[in-house]
Amino acid sequence: MNKTSLSELLNRDGRLIYSNVGDSMMPMIKQGRDLLVIEKPAVWDKLPKNSTTSKLNKYDIALYKRDGGKNYVLHRVLKVRNNEYVICGDNRWNREYGITDRHVLGVLTAIIRDGKEKKLGGWWYTLYVFCWCSLFPVRAFILRGLTFLKRIFRKS
């Protein structure tokens, strides 16, 4: 039985299976229910340092580590810009800026639920991404409203 860190494993094997903590990617990923297949495509190591090609595409779910951060984060890419990604959890409304290729360790390629591996793709996933991401402004409005109400009720 070996104990290995996540980033070491990903660098060595190009693939790791792990779980998530938290609800930031609900409803797609649920803590304690799903296992995540994260891959580091071999082509990433071949990209030149000054490459203008981004590792990630719009709507990819990236595993990354923020500067100075202890934890790994798994959130969705909403926009690919020239020098950064705009990222947000499916269950969050705060967009994150300043994540670049050097922060990215891997990309989610499949979810294991009840022992069965489901590749990301196909009509169900495309439909989910289309609906969920198209409705981002509506969800953001609702989640902001709920956060605001929670704060008010906590104070009173």
Partner: protein, 86 residues
């Protein structure tokens, strides 16, 4: 003894994995061979070390003392990471 719900066993090809979910109190990934996979499978239900050794003896063609040693070692490792409810 039983595997805690916060730990999810998974078979990936020839490897057996034990993956902590939130609240497991352990961050890392336990990897092992098919023997570990069989032990984890047995630990999904409430069992004892002796029962695991007996079951493994029926599954694998190996001397009993080897099986006993491997089972004890695996269970000790699982205990260390807090994966067992006892």
């Amino acid at each position: 003894m039983k595997l805690k719900k916060a730990f999810i066993p998974h078979e990936a090809g020839s490897e057996s994995l034990l993956i902590p979910a939130g609240g497991a109190g352990f961050s890392g990934l336990v990897k092992g061979n098919k023997t570990l996979g069989a032990i984890l499978e047995l630990l999904k239900k409430d069992t004892t070390e002796e029962a695991i050794i007996d079951a493994m003896g029926q599954m694998f063609d190996a001397p009993k003392d080897t099986i006993e040693r491997d089972v004890k070692k695996a269970i000790n490792e699982l205990r260390k990471i807090g994966a067992l409810d006892e």
